[in-house]
Amino acid sequence: MPTPYEIEIRGLHKSFGDNEVLRGIDLEVATGEVVCVIGPSGSGKSTLLRCVNLLEEPTRGQVFVGGTEVTDLDVDIDAVRRRIGMVFQQFNLFPHVTVTENLTLPQRRVLGRAKGHAAKVARENLERVGLADKADAYPAQLSGGQQQRVAIARALAMGPEVMLFDEPTSALDPELVGDVLAVMRMLAAEGMTMMVVTHEMSFAREVADRVVFMDEGRIVEQGPAAQVVGDPRHERTRNFLTRILDPAAADPPGPEEAP
């Protein structure tokens, strides 16, 4: 059944014990669309993202990616995940192997690509993120921003149809954020379908086709970036944006829920 949507989320609920984190989410992401999810810490936005590739198992509801129901108990989840790239707040590069091996290991073990092919794809993707010269370095020798770009290249090397970004710049020093956002901007321009949980309002305003504001496990409002970020309708969105855009004006937002 072909659908115009790359990601389709229907009636999604997620609880951790008594803590209801997602209380009924309906959301679609069209092919080639960039959707930014914003919201205060604990609003459930990271959990929502992690439900898309089933790193968290939803309590109730359905998730479709590329027409395949991810939440179907019989689905080959490893096969579905190959089509979904994910980038984490903490990069999660494999520290025991080099940058190149970070890219080739999954290609070879998961996709069964030959050594030469995997190496070629790795090189191309490292060039895309501007880190071809770090091919032989170990992750610990790179700055946070470089590590995150390698993590993006690692996901891209698998040839995903969708990319999920879970606060990709939140663990970075401010001066390193720009390089990572530049890579993401490039991906968006190339037509990659992206779902991005972020606190970078300028990125959301500039790159996102749609911005989704979440609070307390629900979608409060969504629409074009200019509207949601520039002229929010809901009181809660306005409060959140005030605090985020001018942290000095209010209590700074607390740390994001730990991964």
Binding site: R82, G85, M86, L93, F94, H96, A155, P259
Partner: protein
Amino acid sequence: MQYAVFVAVVVVIAVLADWDRLQNQFAQADLAERLFPDIITIALRNTVVYTLSGFAFGLVLGLVIALMRLSSVAPYRWAASVYIEIFRGLPALLIFIFVGVAVPLAFPGTEIPGGTYGKVALGLGLVAAAYMAETIRAGIQAVPRGQMEAARSLGFSHARAMVSVILPQAYRIIIPPLTNELVLLFKDSSLVLFLGVTLDERELTKFGRDLASQTANSTPILVAGLCYLLVTIPLSFVVRRLEARTARAK
């Protein structure tokens, strides 16, 4: 003050001990000479073989039990916990007797493959596996959760992620404690004494004791002891070096 006490104790022992008799009983040079080369080519060699085979078997079994302990399947976890508690709680000697007596009794007609070597590998391995399982589990759990999540999100199955991503990282953490376990096993191999072995299967302790009773002199025991130290002291040194390296890497 501490030094004074220490020196006093050493002096008292040195003065009161009957050194001539001790030397007579433990350090007869000609007797010691007669132990060679058999004490090396048979006894030490067997001790090493017993230890390594027990270690290899224990490592495989320990890895399986560690993975069971971390499994999402509850009965696996329970079985692993029960195993660990039982085999850590029993004296190794009891397990050896069990392997030597109970297994042939329980399964009549069956032979443990490898004869004495098989029995020893089994006995030592069963004990070692319980300790190693806990070491390996701790090593796996010391690898950040994000590593498994990153691997799974790239499409690795759980088992593949374990083999390609998690275990290679855990391995660095568990090498020092596992080497320590090797030292303990090396000493525990002396329990072979209670299995009843042929002349060529004797290891250091049995070899030393047999010759001590033959010659009515304890020199062979002393030499056997020195043979143990010949291996354990360098190994302990290696463990300390590895531990220092792991500490630096953090």
